[in-house]
């Protein structure tokens, strides 16, 4: 049985041209395809410059993609005019941003901020809007009186709760969480993660959970996409991606995240040395051809710098690495998988 996906992204491209040098085009998002089912939490993990936030902004209509299709809940996000599109979508697609300090207008009370989309999109009376705002604040763990205060009177964690309330007040089907917990302290991060999980379960929400922390993504999401320099290196069920990384980059990401057990951490450090070469000198990678991770990959061969690896299915997962493609010409055929796994465990 296949469920109609809530969101379908096909061959999304986002190129930024350098006006001074035509050849120096940056592929911020390079042929990215994925789907999100209703109620599903999809994690998008990657480092800075991986294009993870740009994907989110393209879906939200804050950036116009260079190429590719986005279908969300029956609407083609490329076909409509921008304004009609947004008004129509605002009640179904929402966002929680990273920075709790710049995501709230300091001159408007929390009540005004939360009521704004309600009053703009549906005809509700002031009293009704106020009641819904206060209910929503309660749902995210804030007092009802918070509606009368200004953003500067709240801590970072509380502001993030307000950001979540603003996203959920329209009862959307999909929320894009763009580094929603990255700027928070550890203890606050845990509170917000718990809140997001609970709200998703209670309301049947789907999330695209964008983060740079593999641990956070593994914890909250059902499926994970691993991005590097605009490309999907690997995607699959979060538990699998985390415990048995297929792509050397995923393994490198996993091994680089320090754990708190000093003994285990020493083991991770040794593992990392086996999969990653020292960082290459500054500057862009091999270019559009080849694998973007080739320059740092301990398994890289000539084919990795010349040919673009195709998305290869491995069981339920998919990985863009020559080692998993029998016809690629990489000599570590098949053996690559155990190699990466060995290095991590």
């Amino acid at each position: 049985m296949t469920i109609e996906p809530l969101l379908q992204v096909d061959h999304l491209q986002m190129r930024f041209k350098n006006p001074k040098n035509r050849r120096n085009t940056v592929h911020a998002v390079d042929d990215v395809s994925f789907t999100v089912a209703p109620g599903e939490i999809v994690g998008v993990v990657g480092e800075s410059g991986s294009g993870k936030s740009t994907i989110g902004r393209c879906i939200l209509g804050l950036e116009t993609p260079s190429d590719g299709d986005i279908h969300f809940d029956g609407s083609d996000l490329g076909a409509h005019s921008k304004l009609r599109n947004r008004r129509d979508l605002a009640s179904r697609l929402q966002v929680v941003f990273q920075d709790p300090y710049s995501s709230l207008n300091p001159f408007r009370t929390i009540g005004q901020t939360l009521a704004e989309p309600l009053q703009a999109l549906s005809r509700v009376s002031d009293a009704q809007a106020d009641a819904r705002v206060r209910d929503m604040l309660e749902a995210v763990g804030l007092p009802r009186e918070a509606a009368d205060r200004y953003p500067s009177q709240f801590s970072g964690g509380q502001r993030q709760r307000i950001g979540i309330a603003r996203a959920l007040i329209m009862e959307p089907k999909l929320v894009i969480c763009d580094e929603a917990v990255s700027a928070l302290d550890l203890s606050t991060q845990a509170q917000i993660l718990n809140l997001l999980s609970k709200l998703a379960a209670d309301r049947g929400l789907a999330y695209i959970f964008i983060a740079h922390d593999l641990d956070v993504v593994r914890y909250i999401s059902d499926r994970t996409l691993v991005l590097y320099r605009g490309r999907v290196m690997e995607q699959g069920a979060s538990a699998d991606v985390y415990s048995r990384p297929l792509h050397p980059y995923t393994a490198a990401l996993h091994a680089a995240a320090p754990v708190t057990d000093p003994v285990e951490q020493r083991a991770r450090r040794t593992a990392r040395a086996k999969i990653v070469r020292p960082a290459p000198e500054i500057g862009p990678t091999t270019g559009h051809a080849g694998c973007p991770f080739a320059a740092r990959c301990a398994f890289a061969q000539e084919v990795c710098t010349t040919d673009r690896p195709a998305d290869t299915p491995v069981g339920e997962r998919s990985v863009a690495c020559h080692m998993y493609n029998a016809t690629s010409g990489h000599t570590r055929q098949g053996a690559g998988m155990s190699g990466v796994e060995l290095a991590v465990t």
Partner: protein, 643 residues
């Protein structure tokens, strides 16, 4: 958190600023006097009395008389209408044209922006005084027409400022959020952009009003604008300037009122510009008000850390306090620790716990308003507390150096990395010429730059964040320090780059015998790099010990809770063990154990009195329920093993 007051509006916030109140009262009185000039100054400003010309102030003529024996006070008040009113008219006209145009250009960009910018260019290119002469030539000597023309000519400043500010604000996330919520562009401009660019525009308004006042007076001085004998401030200055050597007093009243008016506009503009709703305004502290008491001093910690002559850094009962309008409060209290040569010590805790303040205090770097109010910091045998800046400079760099969170901020973008290294090497070691360059390249090689020569020739904006942090570490090493203080050195970096920087710090410890004090909120970083760790909460050390035991069997509930809230320890599908609440602000620190309000183990005994830090279970812990904490940890481990 402060309780919200419904009366939190711009006016009530404004009257809490004494300067603004004085300016507001002055301008209000002046406006009142000018409007009701006939009542306030009943003497006719045009009546001449040549017998009583150029008199000093008297009961009949409060500010004296001018060259024709006319009452100066009366002329000032009656002339204020054309000068003050004209200046305000010009400023309001400039604002009304400039702000909407600038906002439209900045928000929509594209062709709208081009048109708006060219419009502004035209007015900038035309000299204001020429426009005014042309207008006066065409419409006659009419003050109102001249001032409207002046306003149009001055709108360019508002256009540029509004445009630049809008360009900035439209990138804010709340504008994105409103756009995602389907709010129209017009509403976004009015509700989200305008309030946030209002401050600088108000300053521009006050500057424009002041400038217009001067220009209006200048026109009067030239005999334009307000035709004599009608009074105007500019005309009065013109008349007074003829007699400046014989009767200097004539210039004083007019000059004073002009200076005070312009000053008031500026003070008011500044006050409105820095206005923010909901801010915690402490109000004014007057000399007779007593400062609020400092939070209860905890038990001294120094006896617990035995003196060790080998230590390269030795901190005893370090206390750092800050003073604001209302009170003096400690943000770091009685912190004690030692660092051995080549050792790595981690200082860990959430934001607002004082870890960064502690680390920077070792270098004598404390933010304005703060100072070290107690304790000793001994670095290589020298107590640095109380040293002058000059003496501190000798210690900084050569004995103890700092690497900060933002390498891009630590390095100067206008010089190459090599030039900055050479300058610092020359300063610290006195090397010259070729030796300088050789040493710079050697340092860059030491910090793992793959191509030291290329790195030396690069500017900071040409290299990645990780490379910039390596360069910043090289810069810190130029004075060959014994201790490196690294304040969140990897927080801004990607996790794979973080691993490389931690590797680098490890190799520097091994190769140079460098002691490292690293401040971080990531317990994984501590596990990776450090031998010992200091856990801080609300300005105090709450646990201290060897990393291997501290991270595997924590004795303080806070350390334990921090470990439990890490996502790497989370099991998907089960809620994370979050710590409820947040770190309180220094003013709200509880009297008893500061972690008690958030602690699962807290009892009445914890809350009633400050908890001392004690040597227990192989480390130091500020908890009276260590045994219960350890017992529960053991049970948990057993449960997990069974599962």
């Amino acid at each position: 958190m402060t309780r919200a007051r419904r009366s939190d509006n711009a006016l009530t916030r404004l009257v809490r600023r004494p300067g603004a109140v004085v300016a507001l009262v002055f301008l209000a009185l002046l406006t009142f006097a000018v409007i009701f000039a006939d009542v306030v100054a009943p003497i006719d400003p045009l009546t001449q009395d040549l017998a009583r010309a150029r008199e000093l102030p008297s009961a009949a003529h409060w500010l004296g008389t001018d060259g024709f024996g006319r009452d100066i006070y009366s002329r000032l008040i009656h002339g204020g209408g054309s000068t003050l009113g004209g200046a305000l008219l010009a400023a309001v006209v400039a604002m009304t044209i400039g702000i909407p145009l600038g906002m439209l250009g900045g928000y929509f960009r594209g062709w709208v922006d081009t048109v708006v910018s060219r419009f502004a260019d035209v007015f900038q290119a035309l000299p204001t005084i020429v426009i005014l002469m042309a207008v006066i030539g065409a419409f006659g000597n009419n003050n109102t027409v001249a001032m409207v023309a002046l306003g149009v000519a001055m709108c360019e400043g508002f256009i540029r400022l509004a445009r630049a500010m809008t360009l900035q604000v439209r990138r804010e996330l709340y504008v994105d959020a409103a756009s995602v919520a389907g709010i129209t562009s017009g509403s976004i401009l009015v509700r989200h952009v305008f309030p946030n660019i209002r401050g600088p525009l108000l300053v521009q308004l006050s500057i424009t009003a002041g400038a217009a006042l001067l220009i209006q007076a200048g026109l009067g001085f030239l005999g334009l604008g307000t035709p004599p004998p009608a009074p105007s401030w500019g005309g009065m200055i013109d008349e007074a300037s003829d007699l400046i050597y014989l009767h200097p007093w004539l210039l004083v009243p007019t000059g004073a009122i002009m200076i005070l008016s312009i000053l008031s506009f500026n003070v008011l503009g500044d006050a409105l510009a820095s206005d923010r709703p909901g801010g915690v305004l402490a109000g004014v502290r007057l000399p007779w008000m007593k400062p609020l008491p400092v939070a209860e001093q905890p038990v001294a910690m120094s006896e617990l850390v035995p003196a060790d002559p080998k230590a390269v850094v030795s901190v005893r009962d370090l206390t750092v306090s800050f003073t604001d309008r209302n009170s003096t409060f400690a943000v770091v209290q009685n912190v004690s620790f030692d660092v051995m040569p080549g050792e790595a010590l981690g200082i860990v805790g959430e934001s607002g716990c004082g870890k960064s303040v502690t680390a920077k205090a070792l270098l004598g770097l404390i933010a304005p308003g703060g100072k070290i109010t107690g304790g000793q910091v001994t670095i290589n045998g020298t107590d640095v507390v109380g040293l002058s800046n000059r003496e501190l400079r000798k210690v900084r760099g050569t004995t103890i150096a700092l690497v900060s969170q933002e390498p891009m901020v630590a390095l100067d973008p206008t010089f190459t990395i090599g030039a900055q290294l050479r300058e610092s090497i020359a300063h610290h070691t006195g090397r010259k010429g070729r030796e300088l360059n050789d040493r710079a390249l050697e340092l860059l090689r030491l910090v793992g730059m793959p191509d030291p020569a290329q790195a030396a020739a690069s500017y900071t904006f040409q290299v990645s964040g990780g490379m910039a942090q390596r360069a910043a570490i090289a810069l810190a090493l130029t004075g060959e320090p014994d201790v490196l203080v690294a304040d969140e050195p990897t927080t801004a970096l990607d996790v794979t780059v973080q691993a490389e920087i931690l590797d680098l710090l490890r190799s520097l410890r091994k190769d140079l015998g460098l002691a490292v004090i690293i401040v971080t909120h990531d317990l994984g970083v501590i596990a990776d790099l450090c031998d010992r760790a200091v856990v801080m909460y609300a300005g105090q050390v709450i646990e201290q010990g060897a990393v291997d035991t501290l991270l595997t069997t924590p004795t303080h509930p806070y350390t334990r809770a921090l470990l439990a809230s890490m996502p790497s320890h989370a099991i998907p599908g089960l809620p994370l063990d979050a710590i409820p609440g947040a770190v309180p602000a220094p003013r709200d620190w509880p009297e008893g154990c500061r972690f008690a309000p958030r602690c699962a183990f807290a009892t009445d005994a914890c809350r009633s009195a400050p908890v001392p830090i004690l040597a227990q279970h192989g480390g130091l812990s500020r908890c009276i329920r260590v045994d219960e904490v350890l017992a529960q940890s053991r049970n948990r481990t057993e449960e997990r093993n069974i599962a």
